[in-house]
Each structure stands twice: as C-alpha cells, then as structure tokens.
C-alpha cells in the first residue's frame, strides 16, 4: 500500500520497485500528451493518405508535388526561414557573446532586455512593425521629413518587411539558445591562450568561436524550425509573394475544409522539421539544445552518431581555421592594442544596435495608444485615454480578456501539475529510455504549432470541444507543459536530495517530506514555471485560431481579427496592456526563478 507513496522519495531509487510502479508520475503526462498531441497528430497524418470515402490514396501528395503553386510555397517557406535564420544568428551572436562573457551580476541585469522581447507576444511585435514600417508609418515619415526620399518607401507587404518582423521575433530565441553553450566555455581557456602568446583576435577566433559553434548550430536549428511554421508575420507584414506553408494550411482548413490536403501539407511541414532535427542530432547531438536537458542522462552515441560527431568536429575545425586565417590578415593590418579597443567598441555597438532593434517597436506602440486622433499615427496626435475607454467599454474585448486570463490560469495549472510530476520522475528515477521520454515531453516545442492546432481541431470537432474553454485549456496546456518540465527539471537538478533523505530518517513519510521539505524549497521555481506556462497560453494564437471556432475569443484571437481588418488605436491600447502585463509577469517569474535554490 505504501508503494505509491514511497515512489516520490529519492530513497526509492534503489528500492526494488516494479518498473511500472516507479513510472507512475509520468503517467498523467503520457496520457495527456498521448490523447491530445500524439493521437490527433497521427490522425491528421492518416487523413492525408485517405480519400473522404476512406480509401488509401496518394492524391494529396501528388497534388502538392505536381501543382507548381505548392512547390513554390514550399520554396518560399524555406527561403524565408533560411534568411531569417541567417539574419537572426548574425544579430544574436554579439549579444550572446557579450552576455556570456559579462559578470554574472551584469548578465542578470542585461538579460532582461532579451527576455522581455522573447516573451512579448508575436502579435504585439508584428503590430508594432506595422505602425513603424507602413506607408504612413514612423520610418517613412521620418525619411520624408529628413528629405531622404520624396515618396514613401515600400517597407511592408514584401520580403523586407517579412524578414524584419521575423528576425525581430527570432533573435531573442537565437540568443537564448546560444547563451547556455557560451556560458559553459571556460574563460580560463581564453586567458590560457593569452599567456601562450595569442593576441585578442586570435584568442577569439581560435579558442572561443569554435567552442561556441554547438550553440550557434543549436540556435540555427531552433530558429529555422520555428520560422518554417510562421504565419503571423508573413500574413501581416508580407505580400502575396511571401505566402508561407502555414498560411496555406490555415486556408485549406478554415475556408475549404479540405482536411486531407491540409494534413498532407502538415506532413510536409512536420517532415521538414523532423528531418532538420534528425540531421542536427546526428551532427551535433541533442544535449546542446537546452541547458536543462543537457544534464539528463547522456545516451551512448550510436555508430552513425559518432561518425557524425567526428564529421561535425572536422567541419567546425575547418571553419575555425578559416576564421583564424581571415583573422590573421586582419591582425597584420592592425596593431594589437588598437584592435582590442576597437573590438570592444564594435561589440558594444553591435550589442546596443541589436537590443535597440528589439526594444524599439514597443516604444512606438505605447505612445501610439495615447493618441487623441482617430488613426494610429506617429508621433501621436495629442494625448487622450479614449482608446483605453473604447477597449474597456467593448464587450468583445472584455470577454476576450477575461477568457484569456481564465484559460491561461487553468492551462498553466494543468501544465504545472502534470509537468512537475514528470520533472520529478525524470530527474530522480533511473528510467529506461529517458532520452526518448524527454523527447516526447519536449516535442510540442518542436512540432509546428499549426500541425498541433489543425490536429486538435479535427479531434475536437468529433468530441464537440470546438469553441469551448476546455478545448483551449487542453490545447494550451499541451504547448505549455514542455516549458514547465524544463524549468522544474532545472530547479530539481540543483536541489540537494539529502534534505529529503534527512527528512526521511527523521521520521517524515514521503508525502510529508514532499509537502514540508521539498516543495517549500522549490516553490519559487514552481511559480516561475507556472508564469511561463501562463504567458505561453496568454500569447497563443494558432490553436485559438482553430479551436475557438468563433464562439469564444481570446485576446490574441481578437487582436488578429482586428489586425486583418484594419489597424486602429484600440489595438495599440490592447498591445500596450499586453506589453505591461507580460513584462510584469516576466519580472516576477525571473525574480522568483533566480531566488530558487
């Protein structure tokens, strides 16, 4: 009878428990993701190879391959993803480098400038770029008033606008992915290189840069895969020629109800994502992807993996040599001391430029919301709170706000509960195939959101969950649970289990140990995990787009509809409110996370 209770205890590690019993904390997450993630996605895949009558068919795939429109869309999708990745990595590297080499205290204070954009709604950010880049937007006005151009420059509804918006969205992700790897690079190595006679430039190119390559490649993969599934930015900032695959899927489902074809497109997208991932895993290995998951049991690399690693090492080595060769030319032209000063200044400048690029749009949205005029303008016309009043007096906006808070709270709690249980099991048990379990738990981050959204829509249409709060809560919990697992695992990995052992020898049962010793100590981490889950749901549009079915609306859903129709100052007011709420939550979450042991 004590079996269930004892399992949460670390002492149970070596206790001869039946393997199934030891896995029970993983059961809720397995059932949950099984029912609302794996099953519907697989269902969607089978839909793509069936006719409406139920026979097997390759027709949908043939259509994608044969119709040049879709081949074109795929090509555009990859092209945009590629350029976004390139721009994002170039922008992210100096920022991540500066953060990684700064002192811990300085890093913590600078980090917030990356975290705020990272967690700020894509919609809010895209909206900001619409204000800035539009025909009558702030940038064009400035260019005209400075006399640089006579007529407005086309910055929006084309590739430029799309790339600006998408890079802006992806740079924080790239920084966050690179940073953990860069932080593990021992600064003493650089010092050692200095004592061995390497000058600044050489130290960087020969020592630091090659070591940071795993972080760079991890960032590449995360940015590339996320970019593949984008639709908000290309839809709002791009033109017809920037239509990406996700937009086509949405049209196929929402307007044509062509499930099979949408499924086939989703398979293409998913396959592309998984292929890139598999490639990455072979060459670099998964461990570098998340700082938290790196500590998880390292699987012995397969034969192919080792070959890949060696190949990867050779490529990185070659890159390093190439860089060093370039650097030597540069060094010959410049005296060493001037180089150091110049390098530092250039780095600070790059850092300031990128951070400015990330923060800037928000600075335009906030003033725009206080305009007294009837349109979104910059600089704003006069000052008034009329658009906040409009927001507060609109039943649509208010109910959307209420729904968003309710759904985010509930899905946050669901994710926290099952995610924490899973995190306990994953950090404290010897679990066979732990890497595979972790991969499943984290896969909602990797599978493009639109795939999950369409799959859930199909599942819900049969369960009559479309247009329900429950449906949205479940969908958002699927997306939020990986963040909870990562956060709680990170907290637990630093938790000293001897506290629990001590409590047990002092007479505390496993449940009382959990309640009185473990949970109180990791509470800040749990609250942070909840806040991250909350923000994930609060900001979520893709699933809401399908699953709400027009019956219930959330804030992002309402913003999206309004933005597609017309830009108005109410949107600026809502965006400002979102910005403030998110930033406050984020500061709270970060504060708590840093306080936890």
């Amino acid at each position: 009878m004590t079996g269930e209770a004892t399992t949460l205890h670390p002492a149970a590690l070596s206790r001869p428990l039946s393997p199934l019993l030891a896995l029970w904390p993983l059961l809720p997450i397995a059932l949950f993701l099984g029912a609302f993630f794996v099953y519907p996605v697989l269902q969607l895949l089978t839909l793509s190879v069936r006719t409406p009558a139920g026979e097997m068919t390759a027709q949908n795939y043939l259509r994608i391959v044969s119709d040049p429109i879709y081949a074109n869309v795929l090509a555009i999708t990859f092209k945009i993803a590629f350029w976004t990745t390139l721009v994002s990595i170039l922008g992210a590297y100096p920022v991540a480098y500066l953060l990684a080499t700064a002192s811990a205290k300085r890093r913590n204070s600078l980090m917030i400038w990356v975290l705020v954009p990272f967690w700020t709604s894509f919609l809010v950010r895209t909206f900001a770029w619409m204000i800035l880049l539009g025909r009558n937007g702030a940038i064009n006005r400035m260019l005209i008033s400075l006399g640089i151009t006579d007529a407005p420059v086309a910055l929006i509804y084309n590739l430029t606008g799309t790339l600006i918006g998408m890079s802006h969205a992806m740079i924080p992700l790239a920084i966050m992915t690179m940073l953990p790897v860069m932080q593990t690079i021992d600064p003493n190595l650089a010092r050692a290189a200095d004592t061995l006679g390497a000058r600044r430039g050489q130290t960087f190119w020969r020592i630091y840069f090659p070591q940071s390559m795993p972080g760079v490649s991890a960032a590449c993969i995360m940015v590339f895969i996320t970019s593949l599934g984008f639709f908000i930015t290309p839809a709002l900032l791009g033109g017809a020629r920037e239509t990406m695959i996700t937009q086509v899927i949405i049209t196929q489902v929402q307007e044509l109800l062509n499930w099979g074809f949408a499924g086939a497109l989703a398979v293409f997208l998913l396959a592309a994502a998984l292929l890139v991932f598999a490639l990455y895993d072979r060459v670099v290995g998964m461990a570098t992807l998340a700082g938290a998951s790196a500590s998880v049991g390292r699987a012995r690399p397969s034969m192919l993996g080792r070959v890949g690693a060696r190949l990867g090492g050779a490529i990185l080595g070659a890159l390093g040599n190439l860089c060093a060769a370039v650097a030597e030319r540069w060094e010959r032209a410049m005296p060493g001391s001037a180089q150091g000063v110049l390098g530092k200044a250039a780095l600070r400048l790059a850092f300031g430029f990128v951070i400015g690029f990330l923060i800037l749009p928000a600075l335009f949205v906030i003033p725009a919301s206080f305009t007294a005029g009837a349109a979104v303008e910059f600089p704003p016309r006069g000052f008034s709170l009329r658009w906040y009043q409009t927001y507060l007096s609109s039943p649509d906006w208010i109910s959307a706000t209420y729904n968003s808070f309710a759904i985010a709270t509930m899905s946050g709690l669901v994710a926290l509960l099952i995610g924490t249980m899973a995190a306990f099991a994953l950090t404290r048990r010897r679990i066979p195939g732990k890497t595979a379990v972790l991969a499943l738990v984290l896969s909602p981050l990797i599978v493009p959101r639109v795939v999950i959204a369409v799959a859930l829509f199909y599942l819900y249409s049969r369960l009559e969950l479309v247009g329900t709060i429950t449906g949205l809560v479940i969908g958002h919990a699927v997306l939020a649970v990986p963040y909870v697992v990562i956060t709680v695992m990170a907290v637990l990995s630093t938790y000293d289990q001897r506290y629990d052992q001590a409590a047990s020898t002092l007479g505390a049962s496993p449940l009382r140990t959990l309640w009185r010793i473990t949970l109180p100590q990791i509470r800040p981490g749990l609250i942070a995990a909840f806040l991250f889950a909350f923000i994930t749901s609060f900001d979520e549009l893709t699933i809401a787009l399908f699953v709400t079915g027009g019956a219930v609306s959330t804030l992002p859903r309402q913003m999206w509809s309004d933005m597609l129709l017309q830009i108005n100052p109410t949107l600026a007011a809502v965006a400002t409110i979102l910005l403030v709420v998110m930033t406050l939550l984020l500061f709270a979450g970060e504060y708590l996370r840093r306080r936890s042991p």
Binding site: R15, Y499, Q501, G507, P510, I517
Partner: protein, 375 residues
Amino acid sequence: MATGKSPENKTSPENKSPKKLSIVEVSKRYGDVAALDSTDLDMAEGEFLTLLGPSGSGKTTLLSIVAGLTSPTTGEVWIDGRCSTRLPPFKREIGMVFQNYALFPHLTVFENIAFPLHMRRLPAVEVEREVRRVLDVIKLPQVADRFPRELSGGQQQRIALARCIVYSPSIVLMDEPLGALDKNLRDHMQMEIKRLHTEIGITVLYVTHDQEEALAMSDRICLMNNARIEQVGTPDDLYFRPRSIFAASFLGESNILDGVVQAMGEKAVISDQAGATFEARPDARFKTKERLCWMVRPESLRVTRDAGPPGNTLRGRLQDVVFAGGVTKIHVRTDQGGMLVAKQLTTANGVPHQGEEVFVSWSGEDTVLLPAAAP
C-alpha cells in the same frame, strides 16, 4: 534463552542476548560490482562503533543500508530486535547526521529540531520543552530563531546533532560528520560528540576515513576494505593486534617484513632470509615452516650504538633522521638490505648521526605475525 532484560527483543534473530543492531549476511551489488560483500556485524546498546576504511571500502554503503536509504541485495538488518530490512527510513526510528548536515534551509533552528517531533505528532508543549532541552544540552540555546545559514560550521554541526538526539532514536548514524570542519574545530567536536555519547547513552554508528578520529572516539572499530570487513575490535585490538597487513598499515605506521615460522608454542620464533631468528607473539593461525609477514610499530623499536642484551636485534646503518617536533623518526637500512623506521621521543642529545652503525632492537611481545601478502 531469554535474558528477560528487554521483553520487546523476543523476536531477535537466533534469540541471542539483546542487540541494538544486527546485520546478518548483508550484501549489496550494483550489476557485477560488489559494493559490499556478505557482511555480519552486531552492535550493543550504548556502543560507539566506527566504520573505518578508505573510500570505496563499503562503509558508506553499509551505513545507508542500516539507514534504509539503500536496500541490500541479500541479508537482513535487525534494529532493536525488529527485522527492518524492508522498512523505509522513516519507519526505522534511527537518527542520521549527514556530512553536510542537511539542515533544512527554509526552517529556523527551532523548526529544524522540532521537525522529527512534529512528524511524531507530539503536542506543541512537549515539542517546545524538548527542543529547549536539547538546545541546552548542545549549549546553543540562543540560536533557536536563526536560520541554518546564519550559523557557523561548528554550530550547524551541533544543531544537526541536536535534531538527531531530540527524539531519542534507537541508533544515531553519523556519515563523516566532521569532514567539513577545520582541524581545531574537528578536535573540539570529537570531544563534544563523545560527551553527548556518554551523557545520553546513545548508540552511535559512525563512519569516517580518519584513523585518528576512529581511535579517539570509538568503543569498537570495524575496519573495512574492498567491500568487506577486515577486522572488528577495540582501538587497542586494532592497533596492537592487527590481523592483516592492511589493518597493520592502515592504522598507524608499521614496519612489515617477510619471514618463516621456525617454532610455534609458548613463544613463536621466526627467521628472516638471512637466517636471523626473532621472537614473536604466538598466533595459532600459523604453523611451523609457514611463510608469513611480521610487523613492529616504529615506536617499539629502540636504536642504539651498542648491541645491548641479546634478543630481537638487527644491525644496520643509519640512513636518515627526521625531526618532527615531539618525536624523531630514524630510518635505518639493515645489513640485510631492508628498511626500518623507528620513532623516538625527541631528546636534546644522544641521537646517532647519519651513516653511523647502529643496532635496532625490540621485544618479542611487540612483534605481530600477519598472513603473507597475496602473491
């Protein structure tokens, strides 16, 4: 044969006299690796028993098996006459002091000490009284409302002890509790633990790799090596009557030489390669003509310029004199080529000089026979 002293002990294994702890054929394997070979060990009420050994010798494994933090592959653990092999730690009525103390950082000193009492659902009045009582015992009544991080290492150590003795556990287990303290504090805490042990009469199972600590504190020492018990006995036993080369060399310093048994009776006689014979303490384990090792402690050797009275004597040349404060170590290369180290109290004069011919002599009583080293 019930002794009648403690009726609750009637289920103890084989019905022997009451024991606090009985470890019966306990072993632990991780796959092919034996962390602990089949081991038997008993502890009497009020005893201070130390598990001593190098790291990886199995002492911590044995301790955590007793605590219930690790379950044995085979064998049984009896605590207070109750078979506890399958009991989780919180049902064993044991106390444990961890190496890093494991004081709960989110609870005050008072709450930390009260924790085991709360777990036993004692009324608040009693909790208050008991916590105050042990805080007095460890002489730290003023820190009750502080948090562990606000205390010094030595104070934390004493709080950890207090938390352990407040509920009078059957056995207190200590896992290298002084490892994190500096030398002076360690000496002081040794006395403190010893004082608590005698004053309260607790039974202590103590783990350390520090031989001085073990010799100073223990009633009995259980010397461990290579996942098994090497020898169990009083500190005296282990020091003066080691039963193996490992025991002889792990505790204190020793001169170990090869030899062959010439006679075994009232007194033992052994010879070395050169044919010289020596008297030794008899040991029934060895027969005539058997090859073995013999050991003399450096402090049992006398180094003189003259041959002196007949007895165990070797001639040699003084190689080196090392002055180490109160004692002086004298290294002598014997005529047979072996090296002997003698330890003498330092005196202002009379130490022979390097290169001088000297005689090393010792008593047969101080010569201990040991099984030959494995080939």
